[in-house]
C-alpha cells in the first residue's frame, strides 16, 4: 500500500504545471454562463487543444495524450490549483465522449471527438423534461422513424450550456408501446440550430442563462447520429450518468484546490474572525483530502490489473457503478459547505455578486457558491443517490419512491 506517484507521473505533473503557469489568464474570464464569457471560454479550449491539454486521457488520434488515469488525476490537480478557467466543453468531454468511446461507431468518434476536443463544437445535454426530472425514464419527447433517420418532437428543459452551445445529446422515446418506461428509448445527437429547434434561455438562480429550454418540432436527425441501437438508450445513458456522478465530472483536484484557497482565506482573515469558522475550514480541508484519497483508492482498483504501459483503444474514465452515488453526495455537499464557509469568512464582501467590481477574488467565490447550490440537484438529486446507496450498496428493501 502506498501513495507514491512514479517519476514519469511526476514529470507529467511538472509539465502540466509549467504549461499552465505560462497560459492561465491572469484575470479570470467572465462567467461562462454569459455570451461574452462563453466565447472567452471557447477560446480557452482552443488554447488548451493547441498544446494537447484539453483531453489528456484520450488517444492521440483524437487530440489527446493517451494519458493514464493517474496522469489525468494529476493534470486535474494542477489545472485547478493553477486557477484555470472552468471547462465549457465539460458536458461533451465527460459525458458524451465516454459514451462514444463505449457505444459509438468509429465513424461517429472520428466525426465528433476532434471538434469537441478543440472547442469548435460545444455540447449541451438534453435529458430532463418538465415532467421528467428525477423520474427520467418517464420522458415523453418522441423520436419517430422517417426515411433515413428520425424526427424529434417535444420539449427538453434545464439543459446546461444550451443557451450558447452548438449541439445537444439526449434520450427520446422511440417506442411508446413498451411494458416499462425505461424501455423503448433512443440516444441521439442533434444540432441546436437545426430547423424545428427553438432554444429559450432560462435564467438560473442569479439570472444568468446557464441553461435553456429546447422546443423540438419534427427535427430531422440522420441514422448516423443515433448512438448504439435504437431502443437501447436507457442502458447506454446509465453508463454515462455513472460517470457524471462519479469520477470524470468531479475530479478531486477541484476540491483540494478550493480547500487550499479557503485555508488561505482563513489565515488572512481579520483579527476577531469567529473561531468557529475555523472548524468549518478544517472540515473542508479534511473533506477534500478524503475525496482525493477515496479517488486514489478507486483508481488503484481500476488500474491494479493493468500493465505498466497499457496499450488501450480507449481511455480509462473511472466507471464507478453504485459507488459513484457515494461520490456524488459527498462532493456536492462538500462543495456547498466549502463555499458557504468562504462567504461567511468574507463577511460583508460575501454578499457581492461575481460581477461586482469589488467582489473578492474577481467574484470566483460568488460564482462558485452559486454553482455549488446546484450540485445536490443535477446529475441525479442527492435523494435519488441515497436511494441507490441504500438499495444497491446496503441491500435495503425497495419502497415507495
Amino acid at each position: 500500500m502506498d501513495l507514491q506517484f512514479t517519476a514519469a507521473e511526476e514529470e507529467f505533473r511538472a509539465e502540466a504545471r509549467i504549461w499552465l503557469a505560462g497560459h492561465v489568464p491572469t484575470t479570470p474570464l467572465p462567467s461562462l454562463e454569459t455570451a461574452e464569457g462563453f466565447a472567452a471560454h471557447r477560446e480557452w479550449e482552443h488554447q488548451l487543444a493547441a498544446d494537447r491539454w484539453s483531453v489528456v486521457s484520450w488517444p492521440e488520434k483524437y487530440g489527446g495524450r493517451g494519458a493514464s488515469l493517474w496522469q489525468w488525476l494529476l493534470f486535474e490537480e494542477e489545472y485547478y490549483r493553477a486557477g484555470a478557467p472552468g471547462r465549457v466543453s465539460q458536458n461533451g468531454i465527460s459525458l458524451l465522449a465516454p459514451t462514444l468511446f463505449e457505444h459509438g461507431t468509429e465513424e461517429q468518434r472520428a466525426r465528433v471527438l476532434g471538434p469537441m476536443a478543440r472547442g469548435e463544437v460545444i455540447w449541451a445535454q438534453a435529458w430532463s423534461e418538465p415532467e421528467a426530472g428525477s423520474d427520467l425514464a418517464s420522458l415523453r419527447s418522441a423520436a419517430v422513424r422517417t426515411d433515413g433517420g428520425w424526427l424529434l418532437s417535444g420539449q427538453k428543459t434545464w439543459s446546461s450550456r444550451a443557451a450558447f452551445a452548438d449541439r445537444a445529446f439526449g434520450l427520446f422515446r422511440s417506442d411508446p408501446d413498451t411494458a416499462r418506461p425505461h424501455q423503448g428509448l433512443t440516444y441521439l445527437m442533434f444540432p441546436l440550430d437545426a430547423p424545428g429547434v427553438t432554444v429559450r434561455p432560462i435564467g438560473r438562480l442569479d439570472g444568468k442563462p446557464a441553461f435553456a429550454e429546447l422546443f423540438l418540432d419534427e427535427v430531422f436527425v440522420p441514422d448516423a447520429d443515433v448512438i448504439g441501437e435504437p431502443g437501447q438508450g436507457w442502458r447506454i445513458a446509465m453508463s454515462t450518468t455513472g460517470k457524471e456522478r462519479g469520477l470524470t465530472l468531479r475530479s478531486p483536484g477541484r476540491f483540494t484546490a478550493a480547500a487550499e484557497r479557503l485555508a488561505a482565506l482563513w489565515h488572512e482573515a481579520p483579527e476577531g474572525t469567529a473561531p468557529a469558522l475555523g472548524d468549518r475550514v478544517a472540515d473542508a480541508l479534511i473533506g477534500a483530502r478524503a475525496y482525493q484519497l477515496f479517488t486514489y483508492a478507486h483508481a488503484s482498483r481500476l488500474t491494479a490489473d493493468e500493465g505498466a504501459a497499457p496499450d488501450r483503444a480507449q481511455p480509462k474514465t473511472g466507471d464507478l457503478g453504485a459507488e459513484s452515488s457515494l461520490n456524488k453526495v459527498f462532493w456536492s455537499e462538500l462543495d456547498l459547505a466549502l463555499h458557504e464557509t468562504a462567504l461567511d469568512l468574507l463577511g460583508p464582501y460575501g454578499m457581492l455578486a461575481d460581477d461586482a467590481d469589488e467582489a473578492p477574488a474577481h467574484g470566483s467565490w460568488a460564482e462558485g457558491y452559486t454553482f455549488s447550490l446546484a450540485g445536490p440537484i443535477y446529475a441525479g438529486t442527492n435523494e435519488i443517490q441515497r436511494h441507490i446507496i441504500a438499495e444497491r450498496l446496503l441491500g435495503l428493501p425497495k419502497g415507495r419512491r
Binding site: E77, A288, F294
Partner: protein, 362 residues
C-alpha cells in the same frame, strides 16, 4: 501508486476478525466493566498471539518494528468487536519507549508488551498542539515543495485537561508524561465511572521519574500520534459494526406492514452513515502511511483521520440508536456496548476541536 491493502494485510485483518468473533467479546466487555479483568487478560493474550502488540515493538525487543498500517487494521477489528482494555495505551506506550531509545525501561517493558504479558496505561494529555506553527495549506495535499512544519510541544493546558488514565486499575503500570518528564506510577485515585462502563478512568498518582529530557517530549508527541491514529481506527471499526447491525435490524423489523428499512427516512439516514465511514477509511490508511514514512505531514494527517473517523463512528452510533428505537436504548441489547463507546472514542487522544485546530495549523 497502489493505494490498496495487500492480500496479506487483508488476511491478517480477516484472521483477527475471526479470532475476535470466536472470543465472545461482549461478555468480556461486560466483565471488564464490572471490574473483573480475568476474561479481558485472557483475550489480551490471544490478541498478543496474533502479533498485534509486536507491531509497535522494535525488533531487538521481540517485535517487528512500528508498522502503523497493520496496527490501524488491527485496531479497526478491535473496535469492530468492542474489545475492552487499554489496548491503544499499551501500544502507544510501546511506541513511546521504542522512540525514547535503549534504556532500562525499554528493556523491561517492550518484550513483555510484545508477548502480551504487560498491560500499560498512558497519560500524556490531549496531544501535540502547534504553538507557533506556520500555516502551510499547500503541505496538506502532498507537495514536494512543502516546508517542514514547526516542531510541536505537549501543551500543558491540554495535559491538565486529560487528568485520567484509562483502566489504570487493570494496568501493570501507568506511564505519566508531563512536559519533558515521564514517570511511572503504580497507584491511582478511585476509579471514576464513565459514560462507557467498559472504559474505567482513574487519576494516576505521582510515581517515580524515569526520564526528563527534550527527547521525552519528542517521544510523547510520537506516542500521542500513534494513539490518535489507532483510536480513529477503532472508531471506524466500531462504526462499521454498528452500521452492519442496524442494516440487518431494519431489514427484519416490520412496522405498518413493511420492513422499516424500506422507508425513505430510514434509508437515507443509513446512506449518510455509510458515506461518513467510507470517506473516513482512506484518511486512516493515509495517516498510517504518513506515520510509517515519518512524513512532515503525519501529525496533520492523523488529526484529519481522527476527526473524520471519530465523527463517522459517533454518527453511526446515533443512527443505530435511533433506528433500533426503544430497544436500542436498553442495556438488554448487546448493541449498547458499542453505542456507549462511540463518543469516548471520538474524544479520546484528541477531541474533534483539538484535531481540527491541528489540521488548520499545519
Amino acid at each position: 501508486m497502489r493505494f490498496l491493502l495487500t492480500d496479506e494485510q487483508r488476511e491478517f485483518a480477516h484472521a483477527l476478525d475471526g479470532m475476535l468473533s470466536a472470543s465472545g467479546t461482549p461478555a468480556v466487555a461486560r466483565a471488564w466493566a464490572a471490574g473483573d479483568h480475568q476474561p479481558g487478560r485472557a483475550l489480551w493474550t490471544r490478541i498478543a498471539r496474533t502479533g498485534v502488540f509486536g507491531l509497535a515493538v522494535p525488533e531487538q525487543h521481540g517485535g517487528s518494528g512500528l508498522l502503523p498500517v497493520e496496527l490501524a487494521l488491527a485496531f479497526q477489528e478491535l473496535g469492530r468487536h468492542a474489545a475492552p482494555g487499554p489496548l491503544v495505551e499499551t501500544v502507544a506506550a510501546a511506541a513511546f519507549l521504542g522512540r525514547l531509545g535503549a534504556d532500562a525501561q525499554a528493556g523491561e517493558w517492550l518484550p513483555r508488551i510484545a508477548a502480551g504479558d504487560a498491560v500499560l496505561s498512558l497519560c500524556a494529555g490531549a496531544g501535540p498542539d502547534a504553538l507557533e506553527a506556520a500555516p502551510d495549506p499547500a503541505g496538506y495535499v502532498r507537495d514536494a515543495d512543502a516546508a517542514d512544519p514547526a516542531p510541536y510541544a505537549l501543551d500543558d493546558d491540554a495535559t491538565d485537561r486529560a487528568p485520567y488514565a484509562l483502566d489504570a486499575d487493570a494496568a501493570d503500570a501507568v506511564l505519566l508524561i508531563r512536559g519533558d518528564t515521564v514517570s511511572r506510577t503504580d497507584t491511582h485515585g478511585p476509579v471514576q465511572s464513565s459514560l462507557d462502563p467498559a472504559r474505567r478512568l482513574a487519576r494516576p498518582l505521582d510515581g517515580t521519574v524515569l526520564a526528563r529530557s527534550p527527547a521525552v517530549t519528542a517521544a510523547a508527541v510520537h506516542a500521542v500520534e500513534v494513539a490518535r491514529l489507532l483510536t480513529a481506527a477503532q472508531s471506524l471499526g466500531l462504526g462499521r459494526a454498528l452500521l452492519a447491525a442496524t442494516v440487518s435490524y431494519v431489514r427484519q423489523r416490520t412496522q405498518f406492514g413493511s420492513p422499516i428499512g424500506s422507508f425513505q427516512a430510514v434509508k437515507h439516514r443509513l446512506a449518510d452513515t455509510l458515506i461518513g465511514l467510507e470517506f473516513a477509511q482512506p484518511l486512516v490508511h493515509a495517516a498510517a502511511l504518513a506515520l510509517e514514512a515519518g512524513a512532515p505531514s503525519a501529525g496533520r494527517e492523523v488529526a484529519a483521520a481522527k476527526v473524520a473517523a471519530g465523527e463517522a463512528g459517533y454518527a453511526a452510533a446515533r443512527t443505530a440508536l435511533q433506528l433500533h428505537g426503544a430497544i436500542g436504548y436498553t442495556e438488554e441489547l448487546g448493541l449498547s456496548l458499542w453505542i456507549r463507546k462511540a463518543r469516548p472514542l471520538r474524544d479520546a487522544w484528541g477531541t474533534p476541536a483539538i484535531c481540527r485546530a491541528r489540521v488548520l495549523t499545519g
